[in-house]
Symmetry: D2
Subunit: 148 residues, 4 copies
């Protein structure tokens, strides 16, 4: 996929640094390519649900940001990106030493971009297990028009 914005990688990185939630949960941007973004997150006990698994909301947080930035990487310079909707299937309890969300654009449109993200749990021995998968829609806003 061809990026319209030659500084897409810097723009994604700058925007990512402007998401305070990423600091709160300890997420880091791992990879930015045209239409593909990876975010990594170390396990922390204070982000779990009642059985000690990573809360589905945190799984969603990294999947959604990965999807948003994968879409953003293909948008023209000066755009903004917002999530329109997403659906998450939780395949297994979210266990792992670290977690990885990998998002990939399925179809980039002028206004709407459809993205998919897989979230993996990575054990101490580096084995990966698919924990969840997201299918979502992102919208491109030009001229900072965020509220209709």
């Amino acid at each position: 996929m061809n990026p319209l914005n030659p500084s897409f990688a810097e723009d994604v990185e700058r925007s990512f640094r402007q998401q305070p939630i990423m600091d709160l949960i300890g997420a880091r941007l791992l990879l930015v390519e045209p239409g593909v973004v990876e975010i990594t997150l170390p396990y922390r006990a204070d982000m779990t649900q009642q059985h000690g698994y990573l809360h589905a909301g945190v799984v969603t947080t990294i999947a959604d940001s990965a999807c948003g930035y994968a879409a953003y990487s293909l948008m023209p310079a000066g755009s903004e990106v917002l999530s329109v909707e997403f659906k998450v299937n939780l395949l297994r309890p979210a266990q792992g030493k670290t977690f990885l969300a990998r998002a990939q654009v399925i179809k980039a449109g002028r206004t709407l971009t459809v993205v998919r993200a897989d979230v993996f749990g990575i054990a101490g021995n580096a084995e990966r297990e698919l924990l969840a998968t997201m299918q979502g829609t992102m919208i491109c806003l030009r001229n900072n028009r965020i509220r209709e």
Copy 2:
């Protein structure tokens, strides 16, 4: 809707206290009725995305926990609840002084329960605005059988 578990409210409250993520984000259980749960969350700048709105992942976190506990309130004593899947439509940028997720069971089954949650932003003047809506499926696990 008739609860099968006479101590459903205490069980929901105990399980909620066992979700460390709720502490991390500052969420509080506001209401527990058979098939209905409300969770409230004060705005905090460290939970926002790049435009200063509450991150969609945090919106999802309280919606998912509200859905899970609304389903759980109708399950037999000794069950466990896990999220199977959910879909979230983000209707407006998530602004507010506080946020409220209100979940309501649509159909409670022996194994699967379908739940809907609305997330509202509440301004300083107490005005409510619908920000997002979730439609999801929860699964009832008996005898603590969490991993298949």
Copy 3:
């Protein structure tokens, strides 16, 4: 909800008549109000799946058209509507003498409209049972710009 298009009802009816699939399955437009549309469908054995229930795809067909026209009823004159995405939870096997899809707009935007539809099975004694619920997004296209 206030319609922007004074002839919204006629426009919905005309567009509905232009959907050949509605004829094929025997669906009829029952109600058109601003932001609300109902479609009814008599049971037919040739629209069922392997257990004799209405196929989920047919349930979806009437839910999707109801959602599309509920959204369309609030769009400006001269627009076109297309489905962006939808999610359907199937709550019970689709039994009934007739079926009713009732769609209601949750949030109408300039570009995107979020709609919900419930599909009911109606027995011979007129009793209604909720079979499925859809949550979807519709897009408003101006000037017939259907392909990006």
Copy 4:
């Protein structure tokens, strides 16, 4: 993926023949492998919406049956399969001389199976275009227990 049912292909084919809706729309089973099913559908004008594109409900019908049978191919002999939920993103107006739904199991569980389907439009020159993508959940029912 390893089939538990040695006659999975025959069982899928028999069940497919028992779906009258497939006859109504002219759909044909093209491929059955463990965890993978393809269904093909020739274009017909009587299955379109108001702009002449295949109705999203018909796109969903073949995607849902493909997902159901992909899941079914991995279930033990004597099971039944039902759709729990699905989400469809419609990427482009559904044009084509024929359509192909290809479903692939993402995670097969004892009770729930998560499946993805892509629906392609195939032009006269055999070029494929991705039109829609579904992510859904199927449930395995043993002993014909279809209604809870």
